[in-house]
Subunit: 243 residues, 6 copies
């Protein structure tokens, strides 16, 4: 089966890293195709960038020329999963949700450790809408920006592990979700320091997508995600004639 994994920002090196991460989690026979959106921000850390990512991811998937079996949106707290579900029949998995539902199998409550304080509300909103917030102990920010995770790995480890420890001790989290694609390499260190299971959203999403495909399940088309009604668009997509 072929799974498209969509980065939400336009930094190719992060797309490559997400692709490697996804491939490492994939079963034999699963082809991972990591895609960078055709437009957008180099990193997504706020509302405008997230809204732009939503539409960029959708256009990128729509433009993909080959058949595929599932789509993973690999951004933490980004908008747009509902739009993909409307466009597609195949399963769509947001890593924010895959990480949460995976964590819920492992402990009574989980915390998400993310990058900047300003992304906390975005993740909280996604979890609330997804109906996955009842067992979320907290969403904590490490204070490290997405791109700093690469530029200052030692500092990132300390900041992230520190928040994970506080989540376990003060918020009573029993599982930690690393809430940024760029954090995937830190899993072992967080496990070692906190003693609790640590879930990486990209890997979790790959197994969820594979499972849905194997079970022959597709997106429900009766109401919320029914195919869009045919209608005229103006000046969209960029450079296109009106449809």
């Amino acid at each position: 089966m072929r799974i498209l994994v969509l980065n939400v920002n336009t930094t190719e090196s992060m797309t490559a890293a997400i692709g490697r991460q996804a491939s490492a989690a994939a079963a034999p026979g699963t082809e991972i195709v990591a895609l960078t959106p055709g437009f957008g921000a180099e990193s997504v850390e706020g509302n405008y960038e997230s809204h732009l990512a939503a539409i960029a991811v959708m256009e990128t998937v729509r433009a993909y020329p080959e058949p595929f079996d599932a789509v993973i949106q690999a951004g933490y707290g980004e908008h747009g999963r509902e739009g993909l579900q409307e466009l597609l029949d195949v399963p769509v998995v947001d890593i924010t949700e895959a990480a949460a539902s995976t964590a819920m199998y492992l402990g009574r409550s989980y915390s998400v450790v993310t990058t900047l304080d300003r992304t906390v509300p975005l993740i909280e909103d996604r979890l609330l809408l997804a109906g996955l917030s009842a067992r979320c102990a907290s969403v904590r920010a490490s204070g490290m920006a997405v791109l700093e995770l690469e530029s200052d790995p030692a500092g990132a480890v300390e900041a992230i592990v520190g928040q994970a420890e506080l989540a376990v001790r003060d918020d009573r989290a029993e599982v930690i979700v690393l809430g940024c694609g760029g954090m995937a390499g830190l899993t072992e260190q967080v496990v070692a320091r906190t003693g609790v299971p640590v879930v990486d959203g990209v890997a979790a999403a790959v197994t969820v997508a594979e499972s849905l495909v194997r079970l022959g399940l597709t997106t429900s088309k009766v109401r919320t995600y029914a195919p869009a009604r045919p209608k005229a668009f103006r000046n969209w997509p960029p450079g296109a004639a009106p449809r």
Copy 2:
């Protein structure tokens, strides 16, 4: 003061109608500027279209060359209000929320009557995130598409009033919100048939925006709506060189 009122679709006649509606509600001295997004769908009735509207509205506001005092996003259940708040210091008002908070002053519970069944979840999600759903008795669909409101006004009245009556009788709504810009002309008929107050979101939003401006209140910039961090964009906005 000058208030920008943003249509979420690209149908100019609807922009004009929204503008008239807003102007009728405005105080003396308020200038209403109704804007059509530079790109997007002729009507917004689903997730993809709503996500596209979110970013189109933001770009349109960003490109507006004159100063302004507040922005109204005139779409029911559309995405994007948070992005506008991040971009701007001036108050931003979504008509979905203005209608709900206005209705809550008038009765113990309110129902929204909207167009198609598929837009119900979008409105419910907005109200949940806005923290305004506790007193929402129901969101009901009339089954009339946005553009049918103009093409079949008699049918629209019947369908909408019928749902409003059910909302009052079965869902125990005490106030009705007409959940589509195109429904504004029906207010009197719904009042006459149901006996409850009917709130039009555009008019409500104008008074909310004027009030916030008059009180000298602006969007909080401490966390969720802090200004975006400077970063590089690729292929955006359409035709632009990278920023």
Copy 3:
């Protein structure tokens, strides 16, 4: 238009201050009539006093001889708004609710800073019943009694600003509501020290009441606020013959 603004306690100087505050926020052409209840406590800081205020405010409004267009109940967390809505067709606005719904337009969450610890539950109850608590980060007490706000202004500033700072830092509030009429003069200092917007309930309520009147909206009379059934009263109002 004429708006009655009801103080909930019997301290005339506070009625005067509330009246000035309301007038400062009112639009040209709005006449503010500030009224002191005919009976009750010199300040309202508890349940008994609040219940007494509820009925005193209603009797005072009922006895007002001139026509009016809206009523504002200017007490934080006091009982009685529902009773006014039952008595009247014109809009009724409680400043607790007007402040909250105004704050919700400005940031993702708000905190209320009030006077004594014992009034916190009263405010929390009002917000819960009003369906406005989902985005309330906290209600915090400054420890200053209502009348101390006048007698020790310097101490009051420190106590109130201190709690506002804690609300922003620890409770993640993005907007502050000053939860006592007597605090209105402190707005600028709290803004300066916390960097977040500060909402004064009396001013907010004036704009809400004006908006409702301008939109021609009145209280729904279908169920909760239907006019009272005619019935016999004993020994009420004080000194009256049975009705």
Copy 4:
């Protein structure tokens, strides 16, 4: 022990009936003293009347010259229990809450059948504030006014039993609470027709009050129900000199 049972309206015959009902439920050695408020409405079926009852009940208890061990407020959905708790150290029990918490021991969910549609919101509000609404399946109105229960007993039975049956069948209630003092005589008929346990609030409240007294428990005085601060009252109580 002596328990004061406070009617909320001024109809002496209803006070007497409530007193008989309470006495029938009381343990040997419990003295029931049924009191009629010194002022107020002949029946309480709305917000104004309920607010008036709240303060009338408090004044009546305050004026009672003898010692007592507990107070029961015998009104469904009335305001004022918090005020009594503030005034008194002895336990205070509202029959709305006693009925609900008793019903919760008997089945997974309960419904309240009350008099008029307009009293439903009052009861729902009390249960929400009391934290007893999670297992409330519904509050249903029989359409019979309080005083009709006496004037048309046959019609009342049919109306009440009919709603109880709907609650069990459609709302999945497993226990019925008769939500009006005047309904106490109907218990057996509702049991016979619905097959579920039926709770009468006055009787339940008597056993709760007795239990609290026997356990030596009193109202917590640390915050919400701390004694009122000393302060000056104007024109209150009626005819009194200022305190």
Copy 5:
């Protein structure tokens, strides 16, 4: 009337203590029969032990040869109350729930102080399912195991009182529930140190059970607690031939 009080562990001395506690709270004429389960753990402090206690308590009640009027399950946070309600027509009272609903009459919020951290989730789950968690400020662990309460009484007092003080100060609890049968002797010391009412679940449950019996109320049999359907069991109860 005869009330069976079921210890959930197999430590006879604890059964005896629970029996004394229950008898001290019982009204004249109430016979308390304290029973030790026929199998299970010496103390219950986790999920496996709690599930085992659930079934052991049920078998013990089923095997009791004499008639009885009510059953009390005297374990904090243990499973099984629903099963007893299914087996029996007479009232069943879980001390976790009796303590909570009793506490709710005394203050606006309550906290439970229990033994080990690992039992906190068990108690929270019971309160959530029982619909009694809305006013629960916190469940706090003293860190003392059940059997340590007997072996180190002085240490237990300090640990428990310390947590109670934190609950009152930081969690804003107004009532304390001692969440372990073995803590009953500490009530006075906790009252003395915190100044708030302290509820003991066993005593509270006795008065609740007596009240339900006196009111002639029994468990609803319409759905959740309808009698079990007849069916074949294998190897159960231990040593029995198949039924």
Copy 6:
């Protein structure tokens, strides 16, 4: 990898059917071992039977002599998953939860169609505790007992499909979960008649368990599911000497 799949009742033919179902969903290389509890009821349709199943499943897993990688508890709404998580380090998956979290990837809301009305509360409780109820539109009973699914397959189809249709139409479910192991064969017919995706819990649980194992994730041991403390048991397990 080896996954133990635990039937909750003692009917061997159902164990075999569950085993076949699980094997059909398993990936190559996964060994499914279906186990029948050593004691318990022939079918589980109530609280007593569910509590008994909880402990029987735990003892059966404990007695299994070979190593294994994950455990699936194949009962809808049964107690005991928490106990298994306490006993084991390997992942534990309850089919009630696996079905729900799988369904949540496919549509905005899901309904469960189960057997008898009396099992509805058991399933609702599990979903509430699991934090998976926010998007549950309804749990509906077909009225068919577990064993009737085999004895009257035609009647079962009609009853189950009828409830699924009502769930989609009236409760606005977008996905159906078949809430009983015995219903697995009906998936295609329900899909054909309702047009929405249908999730079978056993199959879903197999893919979840495989995913957790492949990701190297294990149960958190920091608090709720920490290993049981060593302690003495009396008369347990049946026939054993005290441990």
